[in-house]
């Protein structure tokens, strides 16, 4: 009863925040006009129509995909490693992506190659980021096949992060201030400015990841009891591990490529959701986490836009500044962590 109430509440919040995100921005557009534009009727003010249909709508869809999928990645990783500190980037995916981006953005000064004006800079960054994540994913999968212990993977992920961040530091050391600024802006994350074709690609990756997660619900529940218990239930641990890693890499890799490394959401949302729905059953957790994550990122994006002011904030600043105190307050209030 409590659970169904919570899911209903989450769904209502999601719809409200979706409409809020579409109606709030630097430019004030009356709500009736927003609804008109969303139903593809033509508005008198052509700029408003363009802003809603070609800027706010793609940004809102991106927020939903990124928020939902990253939170799900966090849940998968926390369950796989049975570690409340695990997040979507624990395997070193964002580090791989960062290295890819650093090589093309910062590489021109230190390595003598870099961005060329002929190919769109955005696509180069997307490709570099995907390639970086993909190579890390292949290394992780190859390692996962050989390892018996899941915890060792966690250490290997951390080692990957250390290696890549060291290389990024060296590249930064030899870069010009403009290049550094570009790289830092990328690392702050951005939900806006994705074209519909990019959103299509992102949706496919996130959709596949969510589908895999749904298939994995039973083994994930078994994993909560520990690997030995799961094996006694007839769960193939190695196969489950590979599928969980594949789902996470697909989602987190695509998100990092298109939106940059979005902080905090993936780590915190699974905890917040568990506190809300009061269960650790993945049948409830998987859809709830996706809904919660999408709603939270929609809220963060609405705040980051600083409605009715011309200025706006980078999304990562908002996710952590707003999110972290909320999690701290919640955990202190609840007195224990449900995990």
């Amino acid at each position: 009863m409590q659970t169904s109430k919570s899911i209903l509440l989450l769904s209502l919040c999601f719809v409200a925040l979706l409409l809020l995100s579409l109606s709030l921005g630097s430019v004030y557009i009356p709500f009736t006009e927003v609804l008109k534009a969303l139903s593809f009727q033509s508005l008198d003010n052509e700029t408003w129509q363009y802003i809603i249909q070609n800027y706010r709508l793609p940004k809102t869809v991106t927020s939903i995909l990124v928020g939902g999928a990253l939170s799900l990645c966090g849940l998968l990783m926390q369950t796989l490693f049975r570690n409340p500190l695990a997040g979507p980037y624990v395997l070193g995916l964002s580090s791989g992506a960062s290295l890819g981006v650093a090589l093309v953005v910062l590489g021109s000064s230190s390595l003598g190659f870099g961005l060329s004006a002929e190919i769109s800079e955005r696509w180069i960054i997307v490709l570099a980021s995907s390639l970086g994540s993909f190579l890390v994913m292949l290394s992780i999968l190859a390692t996962a096949k050989r390892l018996k212990d899941t915890m060792a993977l966690l250490i290997i992920g951390l080692m990957f992060s250390s290696i890549t961040s060291a290389i990024v530091n060296v590249l930064s050391f030899f870069s010009s201030s403009d290049e550094l600024q570009k790289y830092i802006f990328w690392s702050l994350g951005s939900l806006g400015n994705l074209s519909w074709s990019e959103i299509g690609l992102l949706s496919i990756c996130c959709g596949l990841g969510i589908l895999l997660s749904i298939i994995l619900i039973k083994p994930l529940n078994a994993l909560l009891m520990g690997e030995h218990y799961a094996t006694s239930l007839g769960i193939n641990i190695k196969q489950t591990r590979l599928l969980v890693i594949t789902a996470t890499c697909l989602m987190a890799g695509a998100i990092t490529a298109f939106a940059g490394p979005i902080a905090f959401i993936g780590l915190a949302v699974p905890h917040l959701t568990r506190q809300l729905v009061k269960t650790t059953n993945h049948i409830i957790l998987v859809p709830s986490v996706v809904l919660f994550g999408a709603s939270l990122l929609l809220l963060c994006d609405s705040i980051a836009e600083l409605p009715f002011s011309e200025l706006s904030l980078p999304i990562n600043a908002v996710t952590s500044i707003i999110g972290a105190p909320v999690v701290i307050w919640l955990l202190v209030k609840q007195k224990y962590i449900r995990f």
Binding site: I51, Y55, K59, W186, S190, L311
Partner: protein, 377 residues
């Protein structure tokens, strides 16, 4: 009382001894060189020496830096505390910003330049010749200077700059006896104020008269171009900057760039904004406010319409983009990729203004060819 009398006698004797010592006379009558537009420095020029006072080497600095430049060798110290004392003539020196290069070139002192951080950024043909012949050593990057190379060059003076006064390498150089002189041309917010820093180099290298003449020529050309606006028929609306991720970066209304647009008799859409550094605005507000701008200048590093569209399809919603009235400085580059505008524009505001008048009001300068800007391909 008796003791007091003896002490007085001894003091008088000692005093007479001191005053009878021969002194070298220092010319203490100021020559008529002064600073009119720049807010960041002042100069007092005498026949035998000059005092340069840098009041704003970086934003919010709370210390004035005073430098003494001695033009003649004299054993007498000019009274006062100085952050560095330099003896002219200077036979070797290091500069730290490309904006210093044009002053050195027009004062004819490039031959003594021995070091520069990241020489690839330099566009000046004269300077490039000397770099290619290895007369100018690359001393690393501004924030990571190669200390050993600088110590080895042991210049008579290092003309540095700082964004916040914290530069560890500089204190090492000072300990090694290399005088550091801060140049704050980049903090200056007016076109003529930036250009007037040529007088800083004039005072430093005892080329005051030449610096004055060069600056007056630039000032005169600037005012003459500005006068043209009286016959301008229209006042086009102007937008600047470009999108990065989903933020639009553009100069604020009190910036150097905005001043140029105003002086070229155009209406910069963000003229009423203020602040330090560039503005980072939400895309939708810029689209709402500036989509009808007639002319778009300096759209980041883009050099073609195709590149802009590949990067951001939103650009097509701007009138200036569809009417092909976008002008950029990114196409005029030096031999090794440094953008000419960043190096020469602060020194030659007259050329920047002429460029903008030509872009905004082509009928006023029919025979003028653009120097920094060019239409996008």
């Amino acid at each position: 009382m008796k003791y007091f009398f003896y002490i007085l006698c001894i003091a008088l004797v000692l005093g007479c001894q001191n005053s009878s010592k021969e002194t070298t006379k220092i010319e203490a009558k100021q020559l008529g060189y002064s600073v009119k537009h720049a807010k960041g420095f002042s100069i007092e020029v005498y026949k035998d020496f000059a005092i340069i006072e840098v009041e704003k080497p970086w934003p919010n600095s709370n210390k004035n830096y005073r430098y003494l430049v001695q033009y003649t060798s004299t054993h007498d110290q000019v009274k006062g505390n100085f952050d560095a004392i330099i003896s002219a003539p200077i036979s070797s020196y290091i500069l730290s910003s490309t904006t210093h290069i044009p002053s050195a070139e027009s004062l004819g002192i490039l031959d003594n330049l021995v070091g520069f951080p990241n020489t690839d950024f330099i566009s000046s043909k004269e300077a490039r010749k000397r770099i290619n012949k290895d007369y100018i050593t690359d001393i690393g990057q501004n924030q990571q200077l190669n200390t050993e190379l600088v110590l080895n060059l042991k210049p008579d003076v290092f003309v540095g700059f700082s964004v916040d006064g914290a530069n560890k390498a500089y204190s090492v150089f000072e300990k090694a006896g290399i005088p550091i002189i801060y140049n704050g041309d980049w903090v200056e917010s007016t076109p003529l104020g930036k250009a007037e820093w040529i007088k800083f180099f004039g005072a430093l290298f005892n080329k005051n008269k030449l610096a004055q003449q060069k600056f007056e020529a630039i000032e005169d050309a600037y005012y003459k171009t500005k006068q043209l606006e009286t016959s301008a028929k229209k006042k086009p609306k102007v937008i600047s900057g470009s999108l990065y991720n989903d933020k639009w970066y553009l100069p604020n209304g009190t910036s150097w760039q905005a001043q140029f647009i105003k002086d070229a008799h155009a209406d910069y859409i963000y003229k009423d904004t203020s602040g330090s550094g560039s503005l980072a605005l939400a895309f939708e507000s810029v689209l709402n406010k500036a989509s009808e701008a007639d002319i778009w200048i300096s759209p980041g590093s883009y050099t073609s319409y195709e590149a802009m569209l590949n990067d951001q399809p939103h650009y097509k919603k701007f009138k200036a983009f569809s009417t092909k009235t976008v002008y950029s400085v990114a196409q005029q580059k030096g031999e090794t990729g440094g953008v000419l505008f960043y190096e020469l524009a602060p020194n030659r505001p007259d050329l920047v203004l002429k460029d903008l008048v030509k872009i905004f009001h082509p009928e006023l300068l029919p025979n003028y060819n653009l120097h920094f800007f060019s239409p996008l391909q």
